[in-house]
Symmetry: C2
Subunit: 393 residues, 2 copies
Amino acid sequence: MDKETENLPKSIPGKRIGIVGGGQLAKMTALAGLQLGCDVLVLERKSEGPAVNLASHSFVGDWDDPDDLIKLAEHVDVVTLENEFVDANSLSELEKAGHTLFPTSKSISLVQDKYIQKQTLEKAGLPLSPFRKIKSREDVVEVAKGFHWPLVIKARRNGYDGKGNATVNNVNEIDAAWDKLDGDKRTLYVEAFCPFVSELAIIITTSRSGETAAYPLVESVQRDHICHIVRAPAPVSAEITARATDIAKRAVTAIGAIGSFGVEMFLMEDDQIIINELAPRVHNSGHYTIEACVCSQFENHVRAVMGWPLGSTNMVRPAAVMINLLGQSHGSGQPTGFNEALAMPGVHVHIYGKELSMPGRKMGHVTVLGETLSEAEQIAQAAANVLKFGASE
Amino acid sequence: MDKETENLPKSIPGKRIGIVGGGQLAKMTALAGLQLGCDVLVLERKSEGPAVNLASHSFVGDWDDPDDLIKLAEHVDVVTLENEFVDANSLSELEKAGHTLFPTSKSISLVQDKYIQKQTLEKAGLPLSPFRKIKSREDVVEVAKGFHWPLVIKARRNGYDGKGNATVNNVNEIDAAWDKLDGDKRTLYVEAFCPFVSELAIIITTSRSGETAAYPLVESVQRDHICHIVRAPAPVSAEITARATDIAKRAVTAIGAIGSFGVEMFLMEDDQIIINELAPRVHNSGHYTIEACVCSQFENHVRAVMGWPLGSTNMVRPAAVMINLLGQSHGSGQPTGFNEALAMPGVHVHIYGKELSMPGRKMGHVTVLGETLSEAEQIAQAAANVLKFGASE
């Protein structure tokens, strides 16, 4: 990095945010913070990344090294995270050294190990799919006797976008799943497969003073385990919306959340709602809020962790649809079809500015607002269809 | 500056914008460009300023020095401006060296000398208040014989926010005005005072391909010659809106505009519309477009100068009101009343991040959307009332 610590630009005490991670979530958080007059500094493993180019200073270092975390913390008022993988013990060193971190290391410790997350939510009386701790392949067989097939074996840590999960349909598939998930080295747990009819998600922001702001409930459609389309508001009954919102609020309360958290839920055929998992950070299912809500999940995250009052989560138009733009293959971080997409009426194009595209990598997203979901989705889909990353011409 | 040229971060060819100037207009342009995946570099006279902290690289240099301009241009695909004061001859050197500049030096030369600007608009048949070239105090007396009192004596260059203007009510006031404007050293001209009933403004974006996007016509209320309140859309008849929009489009065409331009107009008692002046850049009267329009004046400026299709200028809500936040006295660039303002429903608070407040300095703005102008203005005014820069507690 060319931005040396000793030459750090003048920052404004009380408005300096340090973000651990320099990806697109950090970038969108930074853009919201900058508008409010904040200085944004990031800690990233590499000297490039979506948020690195616009941070007033970027530290290159190891997220899990307390020394690197403290180096960031020393230059800011509040440290926050763009992912849940930073080791909670390292984060607690930062707090012990007197620095301010939100969400807290305690919250992160309750979320980053998915088994502990489920236990915490279960204790709070929240609806979950049955889950069990396992230590061996044999444990899976035992658990299967109490559950129905299929089962889902999951890594307790560092799983995301379907990575770290394996579905097993019968006892013969356990070995392959165990090997795929590297079960001899990683700690795994088992969940009963949840035969949902749709996936719901919601962003709940909790401020340092305990103020809570709930965003509209959305429907989230996954493709290959990665968020593909988000429809806001979710096309479900008012009763389901109210119940899901209540469940999500209780879930973030159980975790002691501060900041914007994403809560993923399953809607079952009998209208039962099951919590899938929590993200202790701004979340892909809330990107639509940048244009669709008075105050975005990113601005409210900044407000929450800085200790400022939260903004309105009301939508400015009746409907919004977001579609993720994933890399198709290895290639440029700049899409083809850019001009064509910009020419479509009302398309908000977000390009994260990653140097390289890779298959399945999140490269950007589009959001369209409208009177109805179908109107918005038609345009968003047309834009997403022409924007290609790494595709051969 | 700690960001050395030799260590410039990797930039994406085809998406690198260089902005001459690092103030709030550059900052808001940069925020729009970053969302589209652009890299933004700035040239500023100091190593600090609202856009400096978020630029991927900031060059410190002299706007009017062709070498400094070319240094910026060498690292970007397109150079643009946040003010009209950069010497058009220096800018033309940049073009002669093969760099891409929008708006062009030709456009800037037609705008930055207000007398030439008026001549250009007059030639295009556009409605103006009578104006005359002057060389001496005696010329003012001569001009007065043909006009009515009062007259306005104006500096031909470098005037803004009322600086460089003096109103003279009779022949006895000429000497004081001449001295105030430093008429022996600066080139001045005279305009007939325009007894308007209200001030109107509009942003027109023109792309490199000639596509034009007109924003809603707004009413702009000045206080001490500085934009104070902007009401969108202007509460005038559809006929006046159509006529003003047409006049503004013809005005930017006469200048050969590329990018977002602000056109300030006077509405007279007899509904006549007179052009006050043009700004060859994003404009204070268009700040409301960030939240109120599908595509803001800043995003459309980026699209225009990069040669991309323009976005929709439609409003997402029926009404929007913007109020400028000016420094009250010397002091901190951070306002008091920040938490109180953020707690007000639907207030969008923009703090530019200037280090110091000075009396009359533009430190930020607030925007509120609503069903009606009066609803939005009430909240915006309440927020502006509590946000104080440099005020003693």
